[in-house]
């Protein structure tokens, strides 16, 4: 976002505290809601600390490597990296540059380093609740998910969805499709076709974890009068009447809080964000449901049951299986 970036450097130039932060993304930010939130997070951190920030967008492993190197060379106070792609890279750089503070969002290095702080999410908790909504709303008793790829990380968006639905309606059937193909993160046409194969079999609630392909999933669901669930931010406005709810992942909070604690001297720790910490949530469980354009706003009864489940998870009474932990 060239235009937006110019503003950033303008505010950056006026920043006075001398604190500087660099965000490196694994992919182009574009309309990737998850990365957009991370950008929001680093901007507000810069504002809070009256400092400057830069965003380096990567597109592949080679550019990730070069961007991290460039960030390290510039020696900002904190380098924030979003995505599990960076685990190996950060481990390598942290060892070489013990004076540099790193913050990884959504992943962590296998070894712990004094200068690497991590923030991870328990998306599966939120997805589980969305699954419960789906189980309660499904007429056909079939709920499905469309994931980008068959990886443990993406399985977090499908397996708990099925588990949540089965929790509230034991006989629910569940199935998952993967977009795949030559550009799995961008191929909305394939995502749409994958959703269609589920819809054709009578699945009427679809969890959409297809990155840019989500719009394809929504289009497919809308055409068949079925329902879909978004991720990361409120996607209901993309397809009002079709998107039931969203699994919100507050990357911005993780970035802000992470920077805060690194500057406060707490480093080398891993913070996990789930329902309890407010890092994961559903649009339906937040304020402003009624103006969210989400379908769930019309199903207060469902929300009541889901709130009960959430409380059980928060209290630790109910434990959601994490597919990525195996």
């Amino acid at each position: 976002n060239a235009a937006a970036k110019k503003d950033d450097s303008a505010t950056g130039a006026s920043g006075g505290s001398g604190k500087s932060f660099t965000l490196v993304t694994p992919d182009a930010v574009g309309q990737n809601e998850f990365l957009k939130l991370a950008v929001t997070g680093i901007k507000s951190a810069a504002k809070q600390h009256d400092g400057t920030q830069k965003v380096y967008e990567s597109t592949d492993t080679a550019s990730q490597q070069q961007n991290v190197q460039a960030a390290v060379d510039a020696k900002p106070d904190v380098i924030v990296l979003v995505g599990f792609e960076f685990a190996d890279l950060v481990a390598q750089q942290a060892e070489k540059n013990p004076g540099q503070q790193f913050l990884i969002i959504d992943a962590c290095t296998t070894k712990t380093f004094k200068n690497v702080s991590c923030a991870v999410f328990r998306e599966h908790e939120g997805v589980y609740l969305a699954g419960a909504e789906a189980g309660l709303l499904s007429k056909s008793g079939k709920v499905g998910a469309v994931d980008v790829l068959d990886t443990p990380q993406f399985r977090r968006y499908s397996d708990p969805f099925a588990a949540g639905a089965k929790k509230v309606a034991a006989k629910t059937q569940a199935s998952t499709r993967f977009v795949g193909g030559q550009s799995p993160f961008d191929d909305s046409a394939r995502a749409k076709e994958q959703a269609n194969t589920l819809l054709a079999k009578g699945y009427d609630q679809i969890m959409a974890a297809a990155a840019a392909g989500n719009y394809g999933v929504f289009e497919a669901a809308k055409a068949k009068g079925a329902f879909a669930y978004g991720v990361d931010v409120n996607q209901c406005a993309s397809a009002p009447g079709t998107v039931v709810d969203n699994v919100i992942k507050r990357t911005d909070i993780a970035v802000e809080k992470g920077i805060e604690s690194v500057l406060g001297g707490t480093t080398g720790t891993t913070v996990s964000y789930g329902l309890k910490e407010g890092g994961i949530s559903l649009t339906g469980l937040e304020d402003g449901v009624d103006t969210s354009k989400c379908v769930i706003a019309d199903h207060k009864d469902v929300l009541t049951k889901v709130e009960a489940l959430r409380d059980q998870i928060v209290s630790g009474e109910l434990k959601v299986d994490d597919p990525a932990a195996s």
Binding site: N1, V29, G30, Q31, N32, S175, G180, Q182, E219, A237
Partner: protein, 288 residues
Amino acid sequence: MFLDSDLLMSALRALTPILLAALGGALCERAGVFNIGLEGMMLMGCFTSVATSWFTGSPWLGVLAAALAAAAYSLILAVGAVTLRGDAVVLGIAMNLLAVGLTSFLLRTVFGVQGTFDDPSLAGLPLIGGFTPLAYLSWAAVAVAALLLSRHVWGLRLRGVGEAPDAAATLGVSPAKYQYGAILLSGVLCGLAGAQLALGNVTLFTENMTAGRGWIAVVAVMLGRAAPLGVLLAALLFGLAEAAGFRLQGLGLPQQATDAAPYVVTLGALFLTTARRRRRPRTTGAVQ
């Protein structure tokens, strides 16, 4: 039976952009121009259709603009290969690269976003009986192209130009003119293919969203021996393989296997057809 008709629907949707582009490729092939720039022309169509539809609010203007823009883009091949006698293959590869760079660059400078441009208020093509009007157009185009090539004066001359340009020239038929015509038409068809992909199959633009479909179209031209009906069958084969692949995923096959399926099926079909063809040599057709 519901499942089967749905498989066919899914295959037909998947094949529409490929079919349109491949028809363009077939026309070029018949005119003696090897066009592997289909992917790039299609991508230009994708971007232009989305940009135009967004700024004018009319998907139809988007379709029109896509056809024009891709046709204009195809002039690179026409001028480079026909007028300047450059190598069509190198030009095609360069056009594919240029289109990726250019559309991504424009995406950032025009829309200020990177990766994907999507907006609920972006107007897509309407569906009639589950298909966009462009899908119906693509089927009609097969029939028209078949008739054109086999029976029409223009088609006869085009085939002559493709086979023996100097012979056509001695009869007062300018090979360059017909080749320009075929290339520009392939541009229009690829533009439509792009519009179908970006405003029909989905309603958004993503960098490199053609994702190899133009290459599949090139293969379809070969497989279908540059005949419209053959191209249709080849595209259908590919569409069915892809749609069936989606279904097989439902049966628990790993995603990687279903990803590879269409290519393996296409390769197999190529083996069979070329093996048969080799027994009876032909003077025309994409495959020697």
